[in-house]
Every structure is written in structure tokens, then in C-alpha cells.
């Protein structure tokens, strides 16, 4: 087997679902993300790794314009979804978020029933028909691998579920509006190992239906669930490539130091 050059050329992505060019994010005067160019492949899982505080969450939140909801945040550069710029002046961030869903670090079900949690986004979107809602809720719960556990208690509070189930409920809620991309910010960080394993299986299944970008501080998790991995350090994208290659033959010293546990 020939030795790889330090920066091996990657296989081109089949479909680029999201693309950022020169993306910078500022909190007031402080710059948290520096000029990031990243392509997110369609029906792939892209993992974002890096030491905490390096801007992974900030970067992730700029992919569905959630940063717009925070006071004093300024975003420059470009983000495209299927080639359409989502920061163009005529784009409604609310509409962007229906195409690019999000699951948060800590599960945050609404204090409503399981059914109403999942139906929330659909009702916001104007769906009123009871039968249609029921079909879509069931579909989302099945996709989130929660149907079997939840089908007999759809009208019980979502807060009565276990931690892992709550996180899957949040995924079902996000899936119900049928987004094209799902952003996940350390979704397993509050879960026990068994719930984490289930969640990882689920992520692998979901890839058939949509594109996933996941932030994780767990190297093994990144290796298990993702096809591509992007390494962030101090607000900059240091390196991105196929996950397997990133973990076996990182192209940058900083990446190698990080994945071998020398810092972070």
C-alpha cells in the first residue's frame, strides 16, 4: 500500500447538501468562528469535533440560523442549502429552520403530551387534520425508534419518559416536520451508555432519510456514526475528511494531538 501524502485528496462528495464559505460568527466584538469553508455531504453524517469552547456549537447554530435568536450575534460569510444562500436578505430564518432541524445537548421536551410534542411543528405549520397528524406523529416516532415504547402512552406527558427516551422524543419532534438536514449538538452527552448506543444506532438509520451534522466530544462516537469528520480548534476549521482517514492518518499535527488525547 503506497504511503499517503500528508494531505490526501478526498473522494469528492456525491451531493453537497450544505456548504459554508468564509463563515465567521461574532458575539459582540468577540469572534467565535473564523472563516470556515465546509461542505456537508447529503445523506451522510458529518461529525464536528474539537476541544470545548472551540466554536462547534456556534458553527452548528449558524447552519439553521438559530444564532439569529441570540442578542448581539453577527454572522458573515455564506451558508448554502442545496445551493441556495440561507443568509440572503429575502430568506425567512423561520423557513430555514423548517428545512434544517435541530436537537439540543440536553433533551428539552415541551411540558405537553408525547403526541403534542411531536405534533407541535406540524401544527405550527398549519396542519389541523386529526388523522393526518396521527399518521405523521406515528411515522416520526417510528423513525426515532420510540414508537414501541410510546404507542400506549401517547397522551402522557413527555416529561415522564426516561432521559434516553426524552432525547429520542426530541428527535421525533424534529423529524416530524421532515427536515432535510438534522443538526445535533452533543445529543448523547447526558445519556447513559445503553441509551447512547441506541441513539447511535438511530443516527446511523436516519442517515437514509436525511443529512446529519453532529457535534460530539466523544471520539469513538464520531468514529462509529460519521462518514466525515471536521476538526475545529480555536474557532477555525483545521481539517476535514473521511472519518476513517481522519482517525488513522490525520493530516494535521493538531488533529493528531487532539484525537490521541494530548489536549482537549
Amino acid at each position: 500500500m503506497p504511503a499517503h501524502p500528508r494531505s490526501s485528496p478526498e473522494l469528492p462528495l456525491v451531493v453537497v447538501k450544505m456548504r459554508t464559505r468564509g463563515l465567521s460568527v461574532f458575539y459582540g466584538e468577540k469572534q467565535a468562528v473564523h472563516e470556515v469553508d465546509l461542505d456537508v455531504g447529503g445523506n451522510q453524517v458529518t461529525a464536528l469535533i474539537g476541544p470545548s469552547g472551540c466554536g462547534k456549537s456556534t458553527f452548528l447554530r449558524s447552519l439553521n440560523r438559530m444564532n439569529d435568536t441570540v442578542d448581539g450575534v453577527r454572522v458573515t460569510g455564506e451558508v448554502e442549502l442545496d445551493g441556495r444562500p440561507i443568509y440572503a436578505p429575502d430568506v425567512d430564518p423561520v423557513v430555514v429552520r423548517r428545512h434544517v432541524g435541530m436537537v439540543f445537548q440536553r433533551s428539552n421536551p415541551f411540558p405537553k403530551s408525547i403526541f403534542d410534542n411531536v405534533a407541535y411543528g406540524l401544527r405550527i405549520g398549519g396542519m389541523k387534520d386529526k388523522a393526518e397528524l396521527a399518521i405523521r406523529v406515528e411515522k416520526a416516532l417510528r423513525h426515532a425508534a420510540l414508537w414501541d415504547e410510546a404507542k400506549d402512552r401517547l397522551h402522557d406527558s413527555g416529561l415522564g419518559l426516561s432521559g434516553g427516551q426524552q432525547q429520542r422524543l426530541c428527535i421525533a419532534r424534529a423529524l416530524a416536520v421532515e427536515p432535510e438536514v438534522l443538526l445535533m449538538d452533543e445529543p448523547a452527552s447526558a445519556l447513559d451508555p445503553i441509551a447512547t448506543a441506541r441513539l447511535e444506532d438511530l443516527i446511523s438509520e436516519l442517515r437514509e432519510h436525511l443529512t446529519i451534522v453532529i457535534v460530539t466530544h466523544n471520539m469513538q462516537q464520531a468514529a462509529r456514526v460519521s462518514q466525515r469528520t471536521a476538526f475545529f480548534y480555536m474557532g477555525k476549521l483545521i481539517e476535514v475528511g473521511e472519518t476513517q482517514r481522519m482517525f488513522t492518518r490525520p493530516g494535521e499535527q493538531a488533529t493528531e494531538d487532539y484525537i490521541s488525547g494530548r489536549f482537549g
Binding site: 435568536t69 429552520r97 432541524g101 439540543f104 428539552n108 405550527i124
Partner: protein, 321 residues
């Protein structure tokens, strides 16, 4: 003499006596002091309540609650004052609660954290809360009765005296100004207790800010908002100073039927009976009875607030009541 001992810097890590109590005397004094302050407060409340309940309980009867005062207010009941207080409270709530909730929603959900407007409004609210209630009364007669009422009369009634006189509507509005800061502060607190993560979840699902507020934030905060509103209203309902110039009547045996009628009021009635009565000894039982009714109504409102608060926290099941 002090029982404190400070370990000087550079002393051995564990000097002798480091494990002995150093706060014994101060501690006991503090417990004794704070404890007796609590007892004193309870005793004072107890004396006031006992006096009013014993003095007023005898006077309380169906007739007292349903009849108008007679014989120069030395006999009869307090029905017009009860109705007047209820109407006043209702109108005041109607004015203060929506405005207060709307203000709080703007301050917590919309205004940027560094907005000068929001800061100005907060300062104004804090100052409004510190204004003595008699000043509200003076403001009420100066602004509502004379200026606003006068303007309405000259524009709508051809100068005929209709609204430019103390009346129910002006008293209610004056009182609502006094209640407003409390409603705003209580609502802000209730809104802030809704976790940001719920707002984020809703926004991330493609809900607008308004949808997030109406479907998630307000329902979550409703218990706290209602509790705060009721406490504010019950506080305002007992105030006399803001209404004595703006609409409360000394004696008015008939019930108010229009917004520009004046009205009797329990708090004002107590004041009148206590200070203006022609025969103090004869009025005393009525005075006590009126005070008791006012107290009971206020307690009733507070009880509703307490029940709602505990229910909204999910600690007490409704069935237990």
C-alpha cells in the same frame, strides 16, 4: 469580648482549637434575636386578626351583607360598598393585567438586553412602585378626572358635566396605575422562569417568536402570572388613598350603574366610619364588620392565588381541595 479566633497567615496547618466551636455565643444571640422577631410578628398579626374577627364577627349577618346603610350609617348593612369594591376591582384588573402582562412580555421576550427603551421602562416601573398611594390619588384627580374627563366632556358631551367628576372608571384607572408595576414585575419573573431551552426547541421547529410566546412561554408561565396578578389586585383592592378623590363616595345607598357613577367602597367606608361618624360608639360594630368583610375578601383572593401557585407547580393535586 469575642469568641472568634482568626488563624494568622503562616500558622501551623491545624492549630490547637481549630475544631472547637467559635460561634457559640453569637450564634445563640442570633437565634434568639431572629426568633423573637418572628414571634413578635406573629403576635401582632394575631392581635389584629383576633380583634377584627371578634369585633366584626358579631355584626356579620345576612342583612349586614345585603342591605344598604341606614340612619346616617349607624345601622343597616354594607351591600353598596361590597358591590362597589367588586366593580372597582374588576375594572382595575381589566385595565392593569393586560397592560402589565403585555409590558412584561415586551421586556423579557422582545427587547434586546441592552435596549435603552427597556431600561427606561424598568426604571419607570421601579419608581412607580415607590410612589406613595396618595400621590396616585392626586394624579388621578389631576389627570383622569380634570384633564381626561374634561376633554371627553367638551368633545363628546358639549361641555356638559359627565366624565369630569370623580367616578368609577377614573378610580379604577388610578388604582390600576398603582397595581401595574406589581403585575409587570410578577409577570417578568414568571416569564423568566420558563427555561430558555423550551424557547429554543420551539424556534428550532420553525415557530416564530410570537408562536413561541403564545404556545409555549405564556402557557408555561400562566400559573405564575395569574398568581402575581391576583396578589397585585388584592393589594390594590384594599387601597383607599388613590380612590378617595377619584370616585369613592361617602354615602350612596344606590348601586353604581354607569362608568361615570361614583361608588361606595369597603376600604373607604372603614375610613369614613372611623373618622367622620356622628356617633362613634354606635358605628363601631359596623366598622368592625366592614373591616372583617374587607379582610375576608382579600384573604379569599390570596387563597385563590396560593392554590393556583401550588397547582401550577404541580405540588398539590386539585382533588385535595
Amino acid at each position: 469580648m469575642t469568641t472568634f479566633s482568626l488563624v494568622p497567615p503562616g500558622a501551623p496547618a491545624r492549630p490547637a482549637g481549630v475544631f472547637t466551636r467559635r460561634d457559640g455565643l453569637v450564634d445563640s444571640l442570633l437565634v434568639a434575636g431572629t426568633g423573637s422577631a418572628c414571634v413578635l410578628m406573629l403576635v401582632m398579626l394575631g392581635v389584629v386578626l383576633l380583634d377584627i374577627v371578634v369585633g366584626g364577627g358579631r355584626r356579620l349577618s345576612w342583612e349586614f351583607l345585603t342591605a344598604a346603610p341606614t340612619h346616617g350609617m349607624t345601622a343597616g348593612g354594607i351591600f353598596p360598598a361590597i358591590v362597589g369594591t367588586a366593580l372597582l376591582t374588576f375594572l382595575m384588573t381589566f385595565a392593569a393585567v393586560p397592560a402589565g402582562v403585555a409590558t412584561a412580555v415586551y421586556l423579557t421576550e422582545y427587547a434586546p438586553s441592552n435596549s435603552p427603551l427597556a431600561r427606561g421602562v424598568r426604571v419607570a416601573i421601579a419608581n412607580l412602585a415607590g410612589v406613595p398611594s396618595i400621590v396616585f390619588g392626586l394624579f388621578g384627580i389631576g389627570f383622569f378626572v380634570t384633564t381626561l374627563g374634561g376633554a371627553i366632556d367638551s368633545v363628546l358631551f358639549g361641555g356638559e358635566l359627565t366624565f369630569a367628576q370623580p367616578s368609577l372608571i377614573w378610580a379604577a384607572l388610578t388604582l390600576s396605575l398603582l397595581t401595574l408595576p406589581v403585575v409587570v414585575v410578577a409577570t417578568e419573573e414568571a416569564l423568566r422562569s420558563v427555561p430558555q431551552s423550551l424557547r429554543d426547541a420551539s424556534l428550532a421547529l420553525g415557530a416564530t417568536r410570537l408562536e413561541t410566546i403564545t404556545r409555549i412561554v405564556l402557557p408555561e408561565a400562566m400559573g405564575g402570572i395569574l398568581t402575581g396578578a391576583i396578589l397585585a389586585v388584592s393589594r390594590g383592592a384594599g387601597e383607599v388613598a388613590p380612590i378617595m378623590f377619584t370616585g369613592a363616595a361617602y354615602f350612596l345607598p344606590r348601586l353604581p350603574s354607569h362608568l361615570n357613577d361614583s361608588f361606595m367602597n369597603l376600604g373607604y367606608h372603614v375610613y369614613v366610619l372611623a373618622t367622620q361618624s356622628p356617633d362613634v360608639e354606635k358605628t363601631k360594630p359596623i366598622l368592625y364588620g366592614t373591616a372583617l368583610v374587607l379582610l375576608l375578601l382579600t384573604f379569599l383572593l390570596n387563597l385563590v392565588a396560593v392554590i393556583m401557585r401550588s397547582r401550577s407547580r404541580g405540588k398539590v393535586k386539585p382533588a385535595q381541595f
